[in-house]
Every structure is written in structure tokens, then in C-alpha cells.
């Protein structure tokens, strides 16, 4: 029972911090006009024929509320480096994303423990995409996530979780300015606390993109990702706990409007995860958690030269408690 509760807490933290760093700009079928935007499916990057390098710094804070009371202060800080290279029919994209989450007891909370939890998150990605005849692009990528999550219940030892993903995807231009695509990601998870686990995410999307390769463009992309439930039950003689990955559906929508090189972007992601979570102190339980993220950004995108931009992002996560985090991003890059 204690293990189950501990697992809920750890999975909750791991899940939330994954969402906080989630890439919003919907690069499932077509590439984001924001060159700092991390791709989700590798084939999407193939439509971009620019070479670019960029970085982003993010800083945010918020609170977790339980029964209307502030219980945690949350702080987020991180950075991203991304590069995209286009060589004829071959495109290579890569990024690295690092973030640190600091969770502290709110001064007004009734917590008796001196809560101050540092959780680290690191993500790497490298992809190759090939543009073929007939406006079809296929791509493959290696995607790795590592999380180090503080656990007071685990003897103050960090729980280390590593997710290794292999992605395959395609994107097709079906009509002028209309794109369809999708892909799968096979994820293998290892954890210092639980048994190894694995599952396959499936993603599909549609995009409309007008004014491609000009300085005034409009792009809208919608996509959905289904992540199935996956569990590995521990035997009595196992040294590790059971592994559990909840079923979830993620919907994304992204709008890009570029006017004379000035890019305005809006993105929304909403995710519903089916999992029963119980408040151990009140007995109250929920059978799903909901996450909503909104981001708005402005960026200067030249044909060549330096880019500069900023973004504001809001994150809301609801289950037995509610978390709200607002963050600000600065990005800088170069198109060559």
C-alpha cells in the first residue's frame, strides 16, 4: 500500500514534469515556423529547408493547491539547444532540453516536513528525415528522457527514470497547402524503483500551411497522441516495485501567423490521463487527471541572420489537487 502511494507520488511528479517541458508547437505533420520549436515526429522537419541553430531559456513559477489551500511553491528553470540542418532531400534535427523543478512547501501550508524537492529533467532527440517523390517524407528519430525525482519516502534517494524512444513517422502533402501525417514511438522505461516497462504511443495529425517559404505565412496544425496503459506486476521476490504507465490522450493545436517575418504563435495542448488517484488524508479520489497548457509567442524570423523572440506559457494540472505554473521564455537563434 505504501509502495502504491509512493508510486502514485513519483509517477505524478514524473508525469507533471514531463508535461511541463512538453513541446507545444505541434510538429507532427509540418515544422513549426518558430525554429526553436522542438519536433515531435521526425518527418515533419523535412518540410523545412532552412539551416538553423538556436537556444531558449525558460523561467517560471506557480503553486499547487489542495482543497483551496496553497501547499507547494513550484519553480521551473531550464534551457534548450536545437539545431536543424537541411541537405537536399536529407534533413537532420537534434535538440537537448534541460530543466530543473524546485518544489517547496508553501509558507502557509500545514506541512510539518521541511519540503524542498529538486527534480531534474533532461531530454535529447536526434532525427533523420528523407524527402521522396510525390511529396512524401519519412523520418526516424531517437528520443531519450531522463528524470531524477527526489523521494523522501525512498530514504531521500532520488528515483531515476529513463525513457528511451524510437520513432518512425511519415508526412504527406495531399493537396497544395494541406498535409497529413503520423507516426509511432516505442518507449522503453527503466527506473531505479520499478520494473522495466514499455509501450507504444501513436500520433496522427493534419496541417494547413499557406505562404510556405515566404516572409508571410499562416499555418495551423492539429494532432492527437494516444498512449496506452502498460503495467508490469512485481513478483514477491522482485527487488523492485510494479511498473505502471497510465492510458492518456493528448490533443494539440498550433497556430502560426507570420507577417513580414514577425511571427505570432499560439499553441494549446490538453491531455486527459485515466488513472485513479486517492487523497490519502481525505479519502477523496478521482479517476482521471487533466492538463491544459497554453503558450503565446512572438519572434522575428529573417530569411538569414539572427532571430529573437519571447513566449509566455501557462500550465494547469488538475486531479485531487490543482497546479498552476506561469513561465516566460527568451529565445535566440541564427538562420544560415
Amino acid at each position: 500500500m505504501i509502495h502504491n502511494r509512493l508510486m502514485q507520488i513519483i509517477l505524478g511528479f514524473a508525469f507533471i514534469y514531463s508535461l511541463l517541458t512538453f513541446q507545444l508547437f505541434g510538429q507532427v505533420v509540418t515544422p513549426g515556423l518558430n525554429i526553436i520549436a522542438k519536433p515531435i515526429m521526425p518527418a515533419a522537419s523535412g518540410w523545412s529547408k532552412i539551416n538553423s541553430v538556436g537556444g531558449e531559456y525558460k523561467d517560471g513559477n506557480g503553486k499547487r493547491k489542495l482543497d483551496g489551500d496553497d501547499i507547494y511553491n513550484l519553480e521551473v528553470e531550464g534551457s534548450t539547444g536545437i539545431v536543424g540542418l537541411s541537405m537536399g532531400n536529407v534533413d537532420i534535427d537534434a535538440y537537448i532540453d534541460e530543466a530543473r523543478f524546485d518544489t517547496k512547501n508553501d509558507a502557509t501550508s500545514d506541512a510539518t516536513s521541511d519540503g524542498d524537492y529538486i527534480n531534474d529533467y533532461s531530454e535529447t532527440y536526434i532525427s533523420l528525415s528523407l524527402t521522396g517523390e510525390g511529396d512524401v517524407i519519412v523520418g526516424a528519430a531517437i528520443h531519450e528522457l531522463t528524470k531524477s525525482i527526489f523521494s523522501a519516502s525512498n530514504g531521500d534517494e532520488d528515483v531515476r527514470i529513463k525513457q528511451s524512444g524510437l520513432i518512425g513517422s511519415f508526412s504527406v502533402k495531399v493537396f497544395e497547402s494541406v498535409f497529413l501525417g503520423g507516426g509511432v514511438e516505442r518507449i522503453s522505461e527503466t527506473s531505479s524503483l520499478t520494473l522495466d516497462n514499455e509501450w507504444t504511443n501513436a500520433t496522427a495529425g493534419i496541417a494547413f500551411w499557406f505562404g510556405q517559404e515566404t516572409d508571410s505565412q499562416f499555418r495551423v496544425e492539429a494532432s492527437v497522441t494516444e498512449s496506452p496503459k502498460a503495467e508490469k506486476a512485481a513478483d514477491p521476490d522482485d527487488t523492485k516495485s510494479s511498473a505502471y504507465h497510465p492510458n492518456s490522450r493528448t490533443n494539440r493545436i498550433n497556430l502560426d501567423l507570420m507577417i513580414n517575418g514577425l511571427l505570432f504563435s499560439y499553441a494549446n495542448i490538453s491531455q486527459i490521463t485515466s488513472q485513479e488517484i486517492t487523497n490519502s488524508s481525505t479519502g477523496e479520489s478521482v479517476d482521471k487527471s487533466e492538463t491544459s497548457i497554453n503558450e503565446g509567442s512572438v519572434q522575428w524570423i529573417p530569411e538569414e541572420g539572427m532571430i529573437l523572440g519571447f513566449a509566455f506559457k501557462s500550465f494547469v494540472h488538475k486531479e485531487i489537487y490543482e497546479e498552476n505554473i506561469d513561465s516566460f521564455k527568451i529565445n535566440l537563434g541564427f538562420i544560415f
Partner: protein
């Protein structure tokens, strides 16, 4: 129910100290810093300069409908400022600040008893603003900025930091629009946690001519800062910062090397619903400037009035300031 308390000194932050009214485009006096980073892209070259300003309280007998009890016999305000703007290409960097500002905060009416206290409390502040902006195709601009202010009076020592982003667009060569968003954080030892709020700014300007010949500019802008509050440490009291709405407009012209300017600014501190008997407060500032601008040298003298009103009570200050800068196009 928690007791409540307003920290009036917080009112000064981000509303009074800003020396310019330049949201969409820079002032024709290049010594004035821009108010949002994106506007810096429309500067005409690099500038280094500074200025000074001092103010006096209007005597008590001259304060309309006033019962101001505190009477300052000498200087009621003094500060010095500096600016360094560097524009090597389409990228513009701007660093500006105010050094050793001394001013007096009027407490208006006592909200808890609805009686007039009319006291003035002295405070000192320093601030620095760092901005970077990039201009694209001479038509669009994007900027980011950071701001830090230290404030100290007899009872508190606080620090304000802010960061944000902004953008600007130019239409038909002469029309400029701009918008920006800043996140502000106020830290104080007395606070249980940081006080945070958001500021939204938008502006439009019409600008004609060239600074080395004839030039005319008119600009209007609005700035909205959210209400914020924070609990006091080891207390049931809270600090409140009211929602503020600032509207401003300016007209500037350069004719035969002379620079003439007028700026109007109105800051409205809205009454806070949670606080019984809290009242709306209005600050009105009118500033005129007269100076000389050549290709390199700009020197401008400013005269300004500030009228702060709460109900029929009033506190008025008059200012005199000067700016000198050297520009390199």
C-alpha cells in the same frame, strides 16, 4: 477573516519613475529611454547621455482643497539618470537607469478610518533597465527586457524585478504600433512570499520626417497592471497593490533644430474591493520640454507638474529637469 493593510509605497513602482512615454517609438529626445524594448529598434543610431531632475512641493496654501499637513520647505524630489543605447546594425541594446532618487510618498486619506492623515514619507530608489531589440525589414521589431529597482524608506527595503517581451510593427512608413507584456516580482523581508503581477502595454504612434531636418511625432499608449496581494510574515495582515491603469499621450516636434514636446499622463489606482473604505487615487502629470537637437548634440529642459488626488484631497509637486546626450547615427 484576515485583516488588511495597504503598502502605499508600493504604488510608486513601475508607475512614477518611468521617465518617458515612448511605447511605440523612441522620444525625439534620444536621452529618454523607451518604455518597451521593441520601440528601441526605431532609434536613429547610438546615444550616450544623462540628465537630472528636481522637484518642489507646492506650498500647502496653494494645494487646492488640500489639508496636506506635511510641508516640505526645500527640494521634494531629486534624481539623476543615464542612458547608453547602442545600435550597430538591426540590433539595438539600451541600458538606462535612475540613480539616487529621493521622493516623498503622500499617503492620502487613511483608508481604515476614513480620516485624512496627509503624511509624506521620504523614500530613496535606484533602478536599471536593460533592453535588446531586433528590427526586421525596417517594418517589424521584437524586444526583450529586464528591469531592477531598489526602494528604501524608513520602514521597508524592497526590490522589484521585471522581465518581459514586446513587439512593434510599422505601416505605411509613418504608423507604428507596439505591444508588450511584463512579469513583475516584488520582494521584501516583511513578505511571506514574493508579490507577483503582470503588466500589459500597448501603444500607437504617427511619426513623420527626419531628426536632422523637420520631424513630428504623436503617440498614445495604455498600460494596465493587475492587482496583487501577498501575506505578511508571521502576521494575519496582507499587503495589497491595486490595479493601475495608465493612459498617456505625447506630441513632439523638431523645427529648425529646436525640439518641443508635451506629454500627458494619467495613472489611476483603482479601489480594492477587498478593502473596506479603500478609495480610488488619480495621479495626473503634465510635462513640457524645450531644447535643441543637432545631429550629434541634444539638450532639453523639462518642466512638469504632478497632481495626486484622493477624493477632494490633493498633493501637488512641480519638477524641473534637463537631459543632455550625444548621438551617433
Amino acid at each position: 477573516m484576515k485583516n488588511i493593510l495597504i503598502l502605499l509605497s508600493i504604488l510608486v513602482f513601475g508607475s512614477i519613475n518611468v521617465a518617458s512615454a515612448q511605447v511605440a517609438t523612441p522620444s525625439l529626445d534620444p536621452t529618454n529611454p523607451v518604455e518597451i524594448a521593441a520601440a528601441a529598434s526605431w532609434r536613429f543610431g547610438s546615444t550616450v547621455g544623462g540628465g537630472g531632475k528636481f522637484g518642489t512641493q507646492k506650498s500647502d496654501s496653494e494645494q487646492l482643497d488640500s489639508n496636506t499637513l506635511s510641508n516640505l520647505s526645500g527640494v521634494a524630489f531629486v534624481n539623476s539618470s543615464y542612458i547608453f543605447a547602442y545600435q550597430p546594425t538591426s540590433v539595438t541594446f539600451e541600458i538606462s537607469g535612475i540613480v539616487n532618487e529621493t521622493d516623498y510618498q503622500w499617503d492620502g486619506s487613511d483608508s481604515s478610518s476614513d480620516t485624512t492623515s496627509d503624511n509624506l514619507s521620504e523614500y530613496e530608489s535606484n533602478e536599471i533597465h536593460v533592453k535588446i531589440a531586433i528590427r526586421g525589414n525596417n517594418q517589424v521589431s521584437v524586444g526583450i527586457e529586464y528591469q531592477s529597482e531598489n526602494y528604501k524608506d524608513a520602514s521597508s527595503d524592497t526590490k522589484l524585478t521585471a522581465y518581459g517581451g514586446s513587439f512593434g510593427m510599422r505601416f505605411l512608413d509613418n504608423i507604428f504600433i507596439a505591444g508588450g507584456l511584463n512579469k513583475k516580482t516584488l520582494k521584501a523581508d516583511e513578505f511571506e512570499s514574493d508579490m507577483k503581477w503582470q503588466e500589459l502595454i500597448a501603444g500607437i504612434a504617427f511619426q513623420f520626417g527626419s531628426p536632422d531636418q523637420k520631424m513630428f511625432k504623436v503617440e498614445g499608449a495604455i498600460k494596465i497592471e493587475d492587482e496583487a496581494n501577498v501575506n505578511l510574515s508571521n502576521s494575519t495582515l496582507s499587503f495589497y497593490r491595486p490595479k493601475t491603469v495608465t493612459t498617456q499621450g505625447s506630441i513632439e516636434t523638431i523645427l529648425g533644430g529646436y525640439l518641443l514636446s508635451y506629454r500627458y499622463r494619467r495613472i489611476l489606482y483603482e479601489a480594492i474591493d477587498d478593502i473596506v473604505l479603500d478609495k480610488e487615487r488619480e495621479v495626473t502629470r503634465n510635462r513640457i520640454g524645450l531644447g535643441y537637437r543637432s545631429t550629434v548634440l541634444t539638450a532639453v529642459l523639462y518642466g512638469e507638474t504632478r497632481i495626486e488626488k484622493e477624493d477632494s484631497n490633493k498633493y501637488e509637486t512641480q519638477y524641473l529637469g534637463f537631459n543632455v546626450s550625444f548621438s551617433f547615427m
